[in-house]
């Protein structure tokens, strides 16, 4: 029973940490640390969600979940279940493995779907995108709307639309391209993938969706940081502003462009010089590693 309590506490701690993370502003100054924290919360939550029913199912063994599972499988093989183990207990263990299987299959499905979409996108790009001397190394799509994105993969592609070329001045364009290359280099698609997969598995859970949005924003901030390292803040902030207003220019009254709030936050962050709060970051990382260590150590012991 004590082990089930451990998992329950970890789940509660994950929930609490997620709430704090979602409200925190230090994460804007240290997006990479914040991303690690979100990943730790996700991992700890997944493991604990599996661990809780398993620990309940193994309560008769009075062993940590790891060795308890070994003992259970040994007994199942030799057909000598102890008296305290009934169908409910076996069901609990089954549910735990079921949760693990669901998490794994949704991840695999997400990967598969993303790879298929990327392949299709790549094929089309090869036929209709063009090179442009204004953006060496990037592809240009002849369309008046403004778009800049990264097609991730082993051979990543940075793509901008003709609308972006006319929207931004050369310095802003350079900043945007560096931003997109940062996405490609740090494989931000893989960072987002587990959260996308979780959102697919539990589409009705609001805070899973929120976590995904937060991580997506942090990933953008991380790429913004890489761009401001090479260029100054001003061109990047300018590019963000122009993207925001490009939406408004043709927006009918009352309609809001998507993602406007996130754009504002990113611009503000670039303009306000703020020291990263090292102590907070270190504390957050310590909490995150503790969250992961708890369920992992239970499964390994």
């Amino acid at each position: 029973m004590a082990y089930a309590l451990h998992f329950t506490l970890t789940i509660l701690a994950c929930w609490g940490t997620a709430q704090v993370l979602a409200r925190s502003t230090w994460s804007w100054h240290s997006p990479r640390a914040a991303i690690v924290c979100w990943q730790a919360v996700g991992l700890a939550l997944g493991l604990s969600a599996m661990g809780l029913p398993i620990a309940l199912g193994l309560s008769a063994y009075d062993l940590p979940p790891g060795s308890g599972l070994v003992a259970l499988f040994d007994d199942l093989l030799h057909d000598r279940l102890p008296a305290g183990v009934n169908v409910l207990h076996l069901g609990g263990v089954g549910i735990g493995f079921g949760i693990g299987a669901v998490l794994l299959t949704t991840t695999v499905r997400s990967v598969h779907g993303a790879l298929r979409a990327q392949r299709r996108h790549r094929d089309l790009l090869a036929l209709v995108a063009r090179d442009d001397p204004a953006v060496p190394g990037a592809l240009v799509l002849d369309h008046p709307s403004a778009a800049a994105y990264c097609l991730p993969g082993v051979k990543p592609r940075v793509v901008v639309s003709a609308g972006t070329l006319s929207l931004l001045n050369p310095a802003e364009l350079d900043a945007v391209l560096t931003h997109e290359r940062a996405h490609a280099q740090e494989r931000h698609d893989l960072v987002l993938l587990p959260f996308t997969a979780l959102g697919r598995a539990l589409p009705w859970v609001r805070w899973v969706r929120q976590a995904h949005e937060r991580v997506a924003l942090l990933v953008e901030m991380r790429a913004d940081d890489k761009a401001r390292e090479l260029h100054a803040e001003a061109p990047l902030a300018g590019a963000l502003r122009r993207f925001a207003s490009a939406g408004h220019r043709i927006t009918p009254a009352g309609a809001l462009g998507l993602g406007d709030r996130d754009l504002d936050v990113r611009v503000q962050r670039l303009l306000v010089a703020d020291e990263p709060r090292r102590l907070t970051v270190v504390t957050a990382l310590a909490v995150a590693s503790m969250l992961v260590t708890l369920p992992v150590s239970l499964f390994l012991s």
Binding site: H121, L124, L127, V128, A129, Y149, V159, A184, D260
Partner: protein
């Protein structure tokens, strides 16, 4: 691989730029002639067209002993599809792309979707190639362009 990609693009450019949309397609010989500057073997052009057909980029129709090829969708429709992906309006929940910023308006989305819908309903070519990724029944998609949103979830 890049050479094959170059050839595919050159062949599609022929189909898009040299073939009037009212024509019922061109033969391999006609494509090879249009690409005369590249001195390609007939079989090479045939292989490239075959690959493009496999990817759903061209459609072919048998006429007598030869096939007639035509682009499955216009260049503009392909660009519109890419832009829908790029602006995250394709309705896909897969994290396939990472974008700089999203500030898309409803109008913009409608314009892009209308471009696809016009393509789908006009010419009788059908949107099959266009929706290769979005495996929706093509007939319903032509009538309801926004159905791509629901269709991709399946």
């Amino acid at each position: 691989m890049t050479r094959l990609g170059d050839l595919e693009r050159a062949v599609m450019d022929v189909l898009w730029d040299s073939v009037p949309s009212t024509s019922d397609g061109v033969t391999v010989r006609e494509v090879a002639d249009a690409l005369a500057g590249r001195e390609l073997a007939y079989t090479t052009v045939m292989t490239v067209l075959d690959r493009l057909a496999g990817k759903g980029m061209v459609q072919r129709q048998r006429e007598g002993r030869a096939w007639r090829y035509r682009a499955a969708a216009s260049r503009e429709a392909h660009i519109a599809q890419l832009m829908l992906d790029a602006l995250d309006l394709g309705g896909s929940r897969d994290a396939a792309l990472v974008r700089f910023a999203r500030s898309v308006t409803g109008t913009e989305a409608e314009v892009l979707r209308a471009a696809l819908a016009a393509e789908a309903s006009g010419g009788g070519a059908g949107p099959g190639a266009l929706t290769g990724r979005i495996e929706a029944p093509t007939s319903t998609r032509a009538e309801r362009p926004t159905s791509a949103d629901e269709a991709v979830d399946g």
